[in-house]
């Protein structure tokens, strides 16, 4: 038997092949030159050259969000790694499985303040699920295997593998373990049957039940199970920002998003329910507001989550069920079907009537006299023109909330945004990751004139890789969400929130080889979108610069630190 001895760099490539990686998002540099030389000589995956390492990680992150597979980014040492940190932290906050391979200075130079040296493992430690520094060429295979395994299992997250340059030049036999078992890491999959039965008992006897689901349902591919269970029980349901698409928005039981900019009916139902089922969600500050206020109305809470640390973190849970959300929901469905009498439905009829009254508040209506472009209307038209079936990425701010509010998602993994870290600049690289994963699908990046400038250089990457993303720029010449807070809470003192000296986005798009359109009249919204998504422009990136109403605010709004039911509605806004 002959064993094949290859370089560390080649081993890295073989590992990625074993993991069926299709795209590596990266940027070369000194410490990863050996790896890039090996990439040059292979054909199994495509390397996507970004224009800034932050975008490499964002694009890998979006690829994972859209497909469910592990995304891969490759960066060099020092500044390559530090530029990647924003991307890594973004993925970490939203529990996205990605593997980041970073180059490091040669082993003998570590600690000597070498050129482009930084303590990558130290810097990234607080914002990864786990990280490794490879010190021996023989360890590359098992380390990368562990990285993919850790990223994708349990509560997913980013895993970084730091490889010194000399290690990629040394040679060893390529060994890739088939399976990995770690004595210190055994995530629970199956939920506890006793807890499941207790939960079901509570649910079927609830008079005012409510379901609240988050990003865990999307990540855990549990949308079908959740939808079936909620339909069986005929319960009302809300999704978090990260959970949108986890339950079909067009279903009558869906109350819209909850939280700081959630609907009146969703927030009221969260506050007033007697039994709450939380699935793959974490009761964060933007979702339930002030926990004391939230619990002021007594309620029993059931919480299904893969991460034990998410349970009872901000809110005390009555019935925790730790496990894979999909498996737990399937167990709940079987247990419910096994019950002889399914007559529980009548118990909450009054409650559904109450919710219908809340819906009549019509909290999402907005004033539109047709004189100026209303951002909400742009999103509504985007939904119409794309038949509600596009991948929608967003940046962070008002436009993000409007996209979440006015583009109802019926499928999971279609809404791609930075929920936890709230990273401005993700929109365009996120759109790149989605478009590469689904070249024949419509991909729109909903953004603002502030956010888009944080990763604008990626227009160049889009040109190189022919990514026909449609950029919907809601241009209000303000950092809109900052301006909104300054208007509400800082006496209209608009400190540094005005975007002065904006570029001509049409010319900018054209200079990168794309198509730019400036839309200033409300009556032109639909025509412009239709043209951008027309077969004629199917192969082209189109930058749609919508000049919108500068004064528009996002409603409803729960002010920071307030309770969920203490919403400011659009109608009340004049009293502020």
């Amino acid at each position: 038997m002959t064993t094949e001895i290859i370089t560390g760099a080649e081993i890295v490539i073989r590992c990625l092949q074993k993991e069926n990686v299709k795209f590596v998002f990266g940027y070369p540099g000194g410490a990863v030159l050996n790896i890039y030389d090996a990439i040059f000589q292979q054909k199994s995956f495509k390397h996507v050259l970004v224009r800034h390492e932050q975008a490499a990680v964002h694009a890998a992150d979006a690829y994972s969000r859209a497909t469910g597979d592990v995304g891969v980014a490759l960066v060099t040492s020092g500044p390559g790694a530090t530029n990647a940190v924003t991307g890594i932290a973004t993925a970490h906050m939203d529990s996205i499985p990605i593997v980041i391979i970073s180059g490091q200075v040669p082993t003998h130079a570590i600690g000597e303040d070498a050129f482009q040296e930084c303590d990558t493992v130290g810097i990234t430690r607080p914002c990864v699920k786990h990280n490794f520094l490879v010190k021996d060429v023989k360890d590359i295979g098992s380390t990368i295997k562990k990285a993919f395994y850790l990223a994708a299992t349990g509560r997913p997250g980013p895993v970084l593998v730091d490889i010194p340059k000399d290690i990629t030049a040394e040679t060893a036999e390529f060994i890739y373990p088939k399976n990995i078992s770690l004595r210190s890491y055994n995530p629970v999959k199956q939920g506890h049957s006793g807890q499941i039965n207790k939960a079901l008992d509570l649910l079927i006897n609830a008079q005012k039940p409510m379901v609240y689901s988050g990003g865990g349902v999307v990540l855990g591919n549990a949308s079908d199970a959740l939808t079936e269970f909620v339909k069986l029980l005929d319960f009302p349901i809300t999704n978090t920002l990260m959970g949108l698409g986890g339950f079909p928005a067009s279903h009558e039981n869906f109350l819209g998003m909850l939280g700081m900019h959630g609907t009146y009916q969703a927030n009221m139902a969260m506050q007033e329910c007697d039994v709450l089922l939380a699935v793959g969600a974490r009761f964060d500050d933007r979702v339930i507001g002030n926990p004391e206020h939230f619990l002021a109305k007594p309620k029993k809470i059931i919480h299904i989550d893969i991460d034990p640390a998410s349970i009872s973190k901000r809110v005390k849970i009555d019935i925790p069920i730790v496990g894979d959300v999909k498996l737990v929901l399937e167990d709940l469905i079987s247990a419910f079907k096994a019950l002889k009498s399914n007559s529980s439905n009548n118990l909450h009829t009054d409650w559904l009537n109450t919710i219908n009254l809340w819906k009549q508040k019509d909290c999402m209506s907005f004033q539109d006299d047709g004189t100026q472009i209303k951002p909400q209307k742009v999103i509504q038209k985007l939904h119409e023109v794309t038949n509600g079936d596009a991948f929608i990425t967003s940046d962070v701010g008002q436009h993000q909330m409007w996209a979440a509010q006015y583009y109802p998602f019926d499928k999971p993994r279609r809404w791609i945004n930075s929920g936890g870290l709230g990273t401005m600049g993700v929109g365009l690289p996120y759109a790149m990751g989605c478009q590469l994963a689904f070249p024949d699908s419509q991909v729109a990046c909903v953004t603002g004139e502030a956010s888009i400038q944080m990763c604008i250089q990626e227009l160049s990457t889009c040109k190189q890789f022919n990514l026909p993303v449609k950029i919907v720029n809601l241009n209000n010449r303000y950092m809109g969400m900052v301006r909104q807070w300054q208007e509400f809470f800082y006496g209209n003192r608009y400190a540094e929130s005005y975007m002065d000296a904006l570029p001509d986005f049409v010319k900018l798009a054209e200079s990168y080889g794309h198509i730019g359109m400036k839309i200033e009249n409300s009556s032109d919204i639909e025509g412009a979108l239709k043209e951008a998504f027309s077969p004629k422009l199917k192969e082209r990136l189109v930058f749609l610069d919508f000049i919108t109403d500068q004064t528009e605010n996002v409603f409803p709004m729960v002010a920071s630190g307030k309770g969920l039911s203490e919403m400011i509605l659009a109608d009340d806004a004049e009293d502020l």
Binding site: V121, G122, R125, P126, K129, H130, L133, L150, L182, R183, S184, Y185, D307, P308, A309, I311, S312, K313, K316
Partner: protein, 163 residues
């Protein structure tokens, strides 16, 4: 409330900073932390003295368990346990104070492990409270240096932290 948490973790480079980083990142208290290899070379044992409400301690245990390198975590306060800490104290011991220090140390069960003309060095082992009490009994103006190890702990009887 004060808790002593014992844990076993993979003896990897950076393991200690993963634990200390967790405490600082999440704003948990840390009174003392001691770490050393175990009889199994692949494992380190760490003892952390911390304090917080029941809810915070529950989160600390969960967050520690979530660290990939942590193999096992035990809150010693969940059952009977023994706690010991070592202190080394250096005191100025001129003729008049020398006898007093020797007597005091004997009565507490400490040992004088080094003595020179003007200085006595004392070793004392006990619970952290016993150490506090012993140190309080010494005349402050004679104490020149104190080194405490931080507490170590172990379960009583058949309460064993092992993999």
């Amino acid at each position: 409330m004060r808790h002593i948490i014992s844990l076993l973790m993979e003896n990897e480079a950076g393991a200690l900073s993963r634990v200390s980083g967790l405490f600082s990142a999440r704003g948990y208290n840390i009174e003392s932390l001691s770490v050393a290899p175990t009889e199994d070379q692949s494992l380190s044992r760490m003892t952390i003295v911390t304090s917080g409400s029941a809810q915070i301690i529950e989160q600390i245990i969960k967050q520690l368990n979530k660290l990939i390198d942590v193999v096992k975590v035990l809150d010693l306060h969940d059952g009977d346990h023994i706690e010991r800490e070592l202190v080394l104290v250096k005191v100025k011991a001129n003729k008049q104070y020398r006898d007093e220090v020797q007597q005091l140390t004997n009565s507490y069960g400490g040992r004088i492990i080094d003595s020179s003309e003007n200085i006595l060095t004392i070793e004392f082992t006990g619970t952290s409270t016993e150490i506090d009490n012993y140190l309080k009994s010494l005349n402050n103006s004679f104490v020149v240096e104190i080194v405490r190890t931080g507490a170590s702990g172990i379960g009583r009887g058949d309460r064993i932290l092992k993999i």
